[in-house]
Symmetry: C2
């Protein structure tokens, strides 16, 4: 059986980047850039004031103080967006608002709190200023020609602001991955329906759809496929127009023979079946043209763990992201646990920060059916092959399923 690392290499080796598309800026947050963004002009384009006050020549106010203020002649008021084209000469000043362009001749701003004026054409400055004080120079944020955002970046809110400040109304992104999701099995009942004997609700399709959505993909739930080769062939064939297909069930030893036959018939080229891991051992991965097929186990936890290990990195890579893996962290065991000796075991755990160390405790039963234990989990602790037991205090690595709970999020200013 292959290892997780080998399986991951095969999956990532099969990924092709999705096509690009032009998207309106306001629809772009969370999406992945398909271009390098280069500033076409300085931002800001002109030196401007950081304060409401008076634009002055620093040399004119060099000796100013509360006890010995400097008197200047006021030429007028410069509001933001309304440059006046005036020049500040020796002994002169201009009233200026935050964001308004610094007039020619001036090189510093005196805040209004440090000035007094008893007539519109005169001001008394009670402080001095170095050249550049409260002046935001042209190009302070970006200079023309700067590469400010790189292809493969997931756009956050400040990036959207930065693109807007460059005047960009749209941006080139990778298309979102379109993912078909199929549940297979005669035991499955759609949500909302009542269960008969031996039946369960089709929970995997909904959990996987939500996981695809969290990742920025577009899930399509294609429904439940009964345990019948013709039905499976029809469903898989219809799903092959998607970027990726996730099915659940049909991959255990007793089922897989007929699934394998259907895959062969429709040209899904199998790359691996079964990985030395727990949970999620009987995963199958196959490819046809640009479509990735993941046959995930039917057990809910196994399906989700395989999603995090293989599907999510593949979708992130297809979307053009350079960082495709879940964040991982060093942790310390908070209790003793037994693990599968001959497999890599992924143990659902909570993580709590204690004196700068992340302490891992299991979330209870590690049965591959116990979805609640995954709902409670902050991370997946990695127990490598060859390890049958971890003791309290042992170091380990863990994949982080969410960052928040592992870190204090109490009132940071109390």
């Amino acid at each position: 059986m292959i290892s997780i690392a080998q399986a991951l290499d095969m999956v990532l080796g099969a990924v092709r980047p999705l096509p690009e598309e032009e998207v309106a800026l306001d629809e772009s947050v969370g999406r992945v850039l398909a271009e390098d963004v280069v500033a076409g002009a300085d931002v800001p384009a002109f030196a401007n004031s950081q304060m409401d006050g008076y634009a002055v020549r620093a040399e004119d106010v060099a000796g100013g103080s509360e006890s010995c203020p400097v008197e200047l002649r006021v030429l007028g008021t410069i509001a933001a967006g309304r440059p006046l084209g005036l020049t500040v000469g020796r002994g002169e000043a201009a009233r200026i608002m935050t964001g308004a362009p610094i007039p020619a001749g001036a090189d510093a701003v005196i805040p209004v709190e440090e000035a007094s004026s008893d007539a519109p054409e005169r001001v008394s400055i009670a402080s001095s200023a170095m050249a550049g004080r409260f002046v935001r120079p042209a190009g302070e944020d970006m200079r023309a020609g700067d590469r400010v955002l790189e292809e493969g970046r997931r756009l956050g809110a400040p990036d959207i602001g930065l693109l807007a400040s460059l005047g960009r109304a749209s941006v080139r992104l990778r298309r979102r991955p379109r993912v078909a999701i199929l549940g297979t099995g005669d035991e499955l009942v759609p949500i909302g329906g009542a269960l008969g004997p031996g039946q369960i609700h089709d929970s995997n399709a909904h959990a996987l759809g939500a996981a695809v959505r969290e990742l920025g993909g577009e899930p399509s739930l294609l429904g439940i496929v009964r345990d019948d080769p013709a039905a499976l062939r029809a469903a898989l064939t219809a799903a092959l127009r998607f970027d990726a297909v996730l099915s659940t069930g049909g991959v255990s030893v007793g089922d897989f023979d007929h699934v394998k036959d259907v895959m062969d018939e429709i040209g899904l080229e199998r790359r691996f079946w079964r990985v030395a891991q727990k949970p999620g051992k009987p995963i199958v991965f196959a490819v046809r043209d640009q479509t990735l097929f993941f046959g995930l186990p039917g057990n809910p936890v196994s399906a989700m763990v395989c999603f995090h290990l293989y599907v999510a990195p593949a979708l992130r890579a297809a979307a053009g992201l350079r960082e495709v893996f879940l964040p991982a962290s060093d942790v310390v065991l908070g209790e003793a646990i037994r693990t599968a000796k001959d497999l890599t075991e992924l143990v659902r755990c909570t993580l709590r920060s204690e004196a700068g160390v992340l302490v891992a405790l299991t979330t209870g039963t590690q049965s591959s059916g116990a979805l609640r234990s995954l709902s409670l989990a902050d991370g997946l602790l990695i127990s490598p092959p060859g390890t049958a037991e971890l003791r309290a205090g042992d170091p380990a690595r863990a994949l982080l399923l969410r960052a928040g709970p592992a870190l204090a999020s109490t009132h940071p200013f109390a």
Copy 2:
């Protein structure tokens, strides 16, 4: 001037929870629960097999081994979703598939790999089993009456799976916050348009809209309001039907008088103006009925920092989340920095994990106009009042703007 903690108390004290709504399960990921979810039945509802194999009575195979296999009579095959109603008596077994119900009388499953069969009605078992082996008991995941998800929880993918396994097709959520966004200023030009002298693009509205979206809210960009009391009055009045209104600009000393007048006229009750912080000092917060009004500074970084400090916690609280603050972490300075002595300064920084410690480096200029430095930032380091300088190696706290980059996300299985 009030402190950040005092301002936060006033903001959070003014928040009212948003109304509830019933939402289809597949639209619920990332949203906030407005109900406690109690399991209506055991999940799974019946004991079932974890493997493909043979359902047996453990006592029948107690002495089984490779050298001394036990012969059993096979009553039939139980597939998932197709219970047969048969009872396994002494010396009997039933072929069983993963997920299929354990038949009456049987209490363990022998995997198919440990069995051999030369005729459909006979099987030879080459191993023993304790009662319960490879049996997933009824109620293993959830028991009827268990409270499995609590009001105030943001639903993740496993939670969606859990709700689906309870058969829930819809769920009771808090409505998403609807947020109006206004840019104010004669200097502002819509994105896509060319800049004249002294003009800048209206970047704040787009950055704030993206930030609202990242938080799960619904932003409405209402456009640019010119520096004119009548225009501001009309725009603010129209915005008051939203849950929250964010405006940018108009809050500096020289501008605020006329903004204050307009707020008074339309009944926006001012709770504070100006907080002892940098950047973002001139923020104004006001309330009318159920609407929260945040008058954010016009400088791009100031606007975004105020968003993280005040707007985001308010929107999270309104949406019903119990965790409303950004995660925070202990960090260590990687370089010396000067900070504002009389204010709380929020320093944009990158965070790198070194030997289990998060090391903070500034992202360059801390000018409140330098949006790029926020785009590069992993966190906001908190320099409290009374501190004018932090030295390399000094401890501090930082708010985390994103978790990933602070933690290794390289191939975790390489």
